[in-house]
Symmetry: C2
Subunit: 240 residues, 2 copies
């Protein structure tokens, strides 16, 4: 008999129908790069983020004073202020403090919107790993990590985040009742000593391969750069 | 530029819509225990196997002289000759040589039936790993390992089989373009030194935990016990 809450991992949004998120905490993760960028944006002083599915809808937010950010297939979409790089929020020449951001991405926005039946939907990244773990411990509810994946399929970097969270929560959560959690945890133990090099194996990472993307990846695998938890509230992502 | 065929892994049948199996070889795997039992049955002299979705349909085959095998939620269903244990085909007191078998299982049959758009659909297990690898090399086509999973979700043992196949095919196939293949391969490298112990972590294995199930598992993780490849042909699984 265990009374510990459980940590489960939904490896791609395509599998969300197998999970009942009601009464649970959903941790949505899209390491490369949507959730890493959201964490960075809020840390840089963005007031809130509106995640959207469609480019056109996202574009309309410019008239309301929003910065607009859009990525399709790993590239910044034409006619938007920002792409999907976290460095877009760290440019001193174009400060974002006090601004709101409307964002649309290939995989991350979809994972968020499919997770809204959860009691709480928070945004996870390596950049705020410890903060997410602390939030999960406080909630004392079952947690499901929702990996954004790549076009519906499994990806390595989001799964590794789930494994890293499993390691941190292992003392307080049941991480052994789900094979997905176990696999994520085992992969994380392999990757942990040199996460950036491990991820260079990844198909997605090689797909993004370019000078800018490598700089982004080096940043997105930093652990605990920011001590904040973005949370979904009334259609916006804000700092909890 | 690579001209090698690729090895991809579909981690659960729920993700099959993301794969185009046409022109490819599908290797369907349900280690515990459907595909392990199918390999064992054919090795024991069963003439052919008819995989079916429904218990009732399976039962009707008894009138045509078939042995009937049925499993639901890991247990033998009432009123059938056999369950899902490979040992059902190894009982000298009840020889199966020359008999045909109609079989229905929770996950394995579904994975098979969803894979029929492939150029060839073969049945994989640790028991015939080398034989499947040899078949794949001969075909010189892209291969997709279709993991049966557990009620639509990821499981460890089928993924480990995919990783073992990736190791064998690595010299001749591209195993790095798919994150699922990479993860399966890495997990296999961890598990390989002691597969049975590694699988004792698995939720599914513990779900099956019982004297009979442990005996089955010890058998199902044996490598290359049988040198044959079951293949789908006209609604039947036969030895290739």
């Amino acid at each position: 008999m265990t009374t510990q809450p459980s940590l489960d991992v939904c490896l791609t949004p395509e599998l969300l129908s197998l999970f009942d998120l009601r009464g649970r905490v959903a941790v949505v993760v899209d390491i490369l790069r949507a959730t890493s960028s959201m964490v960075t944006a809020l840390a840089a002083g963005v007031t809130h983020i509106v995640p959207l599915s469609e480019l056109e809808e996202c574009r309309t937010y410019a008239a309301q004073g929003y910065l607009t950010a859009a990525e399709r297939d790993g590239r910044q979409a034409a006619g938007f202020d920002l792409g999907n790089s976290p460095f877009g929020y760290l440019d001193e020449a174009a400060p974002v403090r006090g601004r709101a951001v409307a964002i649309t991405t290939t995989n991350g926005t979809r994972a968020l919107q499919l997770s809204l039946s959860a009691d709480a939907v928070v945004v996870g990244a390596f950049l705020n790993l410890q903060a997410v773990a602390a939030f999960a411990r406080q909630q004392q509810k079952d947690v499901v990590v929702v990996c954004a994946g790549w076009k519906g399929n499994f990806n390595l970097e989001d799964t590794l985040f789930a494994g890293a969270l499993a390691e941190l929560l292992a003392p307080d959560f049941d991480i052994t009742s789900s094979d997905a959690t176990l696999a994520a945890y085992q992969l994380w133990l392999q990757a942990k000593p040199d996460l950036a090099t491990y991820l260079l194996q990844s198909a997605h990472v090689r797909r993004l391969n370019s000078l800018e993307a490598n700089k982004d990846m080096d940043f997105c695998v930093r652990l605990n750069e920011y001590d904040l938890v973005p949370i979904w509230r009334d259609g916006r992502i804000v700092v909890n």
